[in-house]
């Protein structure tokens, strides 16, 4: 082993072999625009619940695509469905519907 002078933090390792895509595929079927997300973060920035707690839609979508369902759901459960993320999304994704689909499809 060559010592490059840094370590990999185990918690940020993405293991795609542990990823069961059934639920994620269901999500894509219900709301295909989830694939359009470019992680710009405007949704998280404008979030109402985000003023009081850690809710982060961008992180949620990112974690779902990496198979970390449990962490992802934690990021979205406090959502108030106010719709501000919907208005600011630059790609026109129906984020409110996306959140409702996530809550409906995934079980935590």
């Amino acid at each position: 082993m060559i010592d490059f002078g840094y370590n990999i933090d185990q918690s940020s390792v993405i293991d795609m072999t542990k990823f069961d895509p059934t639920l994620y595929n269901k999500l894509i079927e219900a709301e295909p625009d989830v694939l359009k997300c470019m992680a710009c973060g405007r949704c998280t920035a404008s979030c109402t619940a985000g003023q009081f707690t850690h809710v982060d839609l961008r992180r949620c979508i990112l974690l779902l695509s990496r198979g970390k369902d449990k962490d992802a759901l934690k990021e979205i459960k406090p959502c108030l469905l106010c719709g501000k993320c919907n208005l600011v999304c630059p790609r026109g994704i129906n984020t409110r519907h996306l959140i409702l689909c996530i809550l409906r499809i995934y079980k935590q």
Partner: protein, 590 residues
């Protein structure tokens, strides 16, 4: 005879089922309404106006109204007068239901007396009116635009069969009475038919078959009735009594909803009203098809339509029965139970604000945080008037909870409402000014804030203008006012914003305005409508607003404001904005 007994038994059972399915509180409300005098009068009046005379249809288009009234009221009159005739001539037969319908067959020569001739004349004239109505109905199926409906409903096979049975009843009656007129007498119409046919063939042979044809078509119609849209005939009266008792739908298919589903005559007036109909592919999402799917119990389609609806209320306004299909869709949404529940534990951890000395509270709401022009204009106006106010969500605040409610999550919405109420009550305010009509409707309907006067900012500023606290200068600009769905149809506020505008410039109206105003397309009511589809709706709304060539569009809702700004060839302003622009100079703060 068979048909009649069948239908009476079916309706009685249906009525019992409906009342049984009502939640207890509503059941008591209904039973109480049966003995309250004012409600008894209102019920009779509404039944007369809606069921028999179809007043709302006349308002929409006179030909349409005539078509329905002639058949409904005409048939009703024929039945009544038939009973009167039976009473007069053969009183001992009055108890048999079918006797008056086949009166001419059973009783002969009543036209000899003046009274008899008069009754014959009456019956014939009414029959003529009904036949005219049926002619219009046939025309409506071929070319509905003649009767003022751009689009009408597509019907299933059984409905079409029942419709043809209904259409044939009256011409067949005419034929039957015409053939018999030689023996039993008739008036101008039936005698005329009799003479006409008498030239071609002998009437006597045609008597029995024609009466049988009439009887069969009646029988077919009544037997098919429970499975067709004509079920609305018996159900309408019950529905009106439920509605006047103040009952609302809490489940999409049980109790009150069942009455609504059967009362829908599938006329299709809501199709023209629905803003989604601007795109042909979205026509199947109109309320009439939603109610049809509820009746057919097609789960997938029910969910699809319920989730797409903008909840703008145009269909409720257009419906001649006033069916609240928006409430039905909301009830449908509440039935969905997601796999993951929301986590609102952080709500209890939010600190309550301390009691402030300012008694006036300004609540901007979530959407206004994205359109700060509005909150800046409102606070500027309040500063100009030297009002001591507390801008509760200046640094961000809690959502009012209506978007959660519109998604069908009533329990979660209640939790938000409770927390927000605690926060508002903790400030010790006595007046709450709300600038977003979505929040305003939520506060008025679902919040319990004792001792606080909730006022929409248009009402507030209109008051202040009239009191002279906001002196305005006039401009030559032509403004068109867009009634937001939640403020207009939702809360009944149409006058005050218009009076504010009239004090500043010239007010012109859109082509369809006030309670017919077209939704901007940005509504949070829809869960699944795509951005592209919404843009089509916004285009429709803008075209409607530009009808009388205004200079600027004025609106009173942050969501409408943002939606139109993206899509309008002329400037879009909020009502607080035009107030700030036109305050007379010596009052402006530097």
């Amino acid at each position: 005879m068979v048909g009649m007994v069948f239908i009476l038994v079916y309706c009685l059972l249906g009525l019992i089922k409906m009342i049984y399915q009502l939640p207890i509180r509503d059941r008591n409300k209904f039973l109480l309404s049966l003995i309250t005098p004012t409600l008894i009068f209102k019920n009779i009046k509404d039944i007369l106006l809606t069921v028999l005379l179809h007043v709302k249809m006349w308002k929409k288009n006179p030909l349409l109204g005539f078509m329905h009234s002639s058949i409904a009221f005409g048939w009703f009159c024929i039945i009544i007068i038939g009973h009167i005739e039976t009473l007069i001539y053969v009183p001992h037969r009055v108890k048999l239901f079918y006797y008056p319908i086949f009166f001419r067959y059973f009783v002969m020569s009543t036209h000899e007396t003046v009274r008899g001739a008069f009754l014959c004349f009456l019956m014939d004239s009414i029959l003529l009116i009904i036949l005219l109505g049926i002619a219009l109905a046939v025309i409506k199926r071929i070319r509905s635009s003649i009767l003022g409906m751009r689009r009408t409903t597509k019907q299933s096979l059984i409905n079409n069969v029942a419709m043809i049975a209904l259409w044939s009843i009256f011409p067949l009656r005419l034929l039957a009475e015409g053939f018999t007129a030689g023996i039993s007498g008739g008036s101008f119409l039936t005698k005329g038919v009799s003479d006409l046919f008498g030239n071609f063939f002998s009437n006597d042979l045609k008597i029995l078959p024609s009466w049988w044809a009439y009887s069969i078509s009646l029988g077919v119609f009544f037997v098919l009735l429970p499975w067709t849209r004509y079920m609305h005939i018996p159900t309408e009266a019950i529905y009106i009594m439920f509605k006047n008792a103040g009952i609302k739908a809490s489940h999409p298919t049980k109790g009150y909803a069942l009455a609504e589903i059967y009362t829908c005559p599938s006329c299709g007036l809501c199709i023209d009203a629905c803003p989604m109909g601007t795109q042909k592919k979205n026509l199947p999402y109109s309320s009439v098809y939603f109610i049809r799917q509820l009746r057919n119990k097609n789960k997938e389609k029910i969910e699809e339509i319920a989730n797409k609806c903008l909840m703008c209320g145009k269909c409720v306004e257009a419906c001649p029965q006033g069916l609240d299909s928006v409430a039905l869709k909301l009830a449908q949404r509440s039935l969905i139970k997601p796999n993951t529940k929301n986590d609102f534990s952080y709500l209890s951890r939010i600190e309550l604000p301390k009691a402030k000395p300012e008694k006036v509270l300004y609540y901007a709401g979530c959407m206004t945080q994205l359109t700060p022009t509005i909150s800046r204009s409102v606070t500027k106006l309040l500063d100009i008037m030297n009002v001591d106010y507390n801008f509760i969500d200046e640094e961000g605040g809690m959502c009012c909870g209506r978007p959660m409610l519109l998604a069908g999550k009533t329990y979660e919405a209640e939790r938000i409402v409770r927390k927000n109420s605690d926060m508002i009550l903790a400030t010790g305010a006595s007046t709450l000014i709300v600038s977003c009509p979505i929040c305003y409707k939520m506060f008025k309907e679902k919040y319990n804030l004792p001792g606080i006067n909730i006022i929409n900012y248009t009402e507030y500023f209109d008051q202040k203008v009239k009191e002279g606290k906001l002196p305005l200068k006039s401009t030559n600009k032509k403004y068109v006012y867009h009634d937001p769905c939640e403020l207009g149809r939702g809360s009944g506020i149409y006058k005050q914003p218009r009076e504010i505008i009239a004090n500043i410039g010239y007010l012109v109206e859109a082509d369809e305005s006030k309670n017919k105003s077209i939704c901007c397309g940005g509504s949070l009511g829809s869960l699944t409508l795509s951005y592209e589809d919404r843009t089509h709706i916004t285009d429709l709304a803008v075209r409607n607003l530009l009808f009388n060539k205004p200079d600027e569009i004025v609106t009173a809702c942050p969501l409408c404001y943002k939606t139109f700004s993206n899509n309008s060839p002329i400037k879009v302003k909020d009502i607080s904005q035009i107030l700030v622009e036109n305050i007379t100079n010596n009052n402006k703060l530097s």
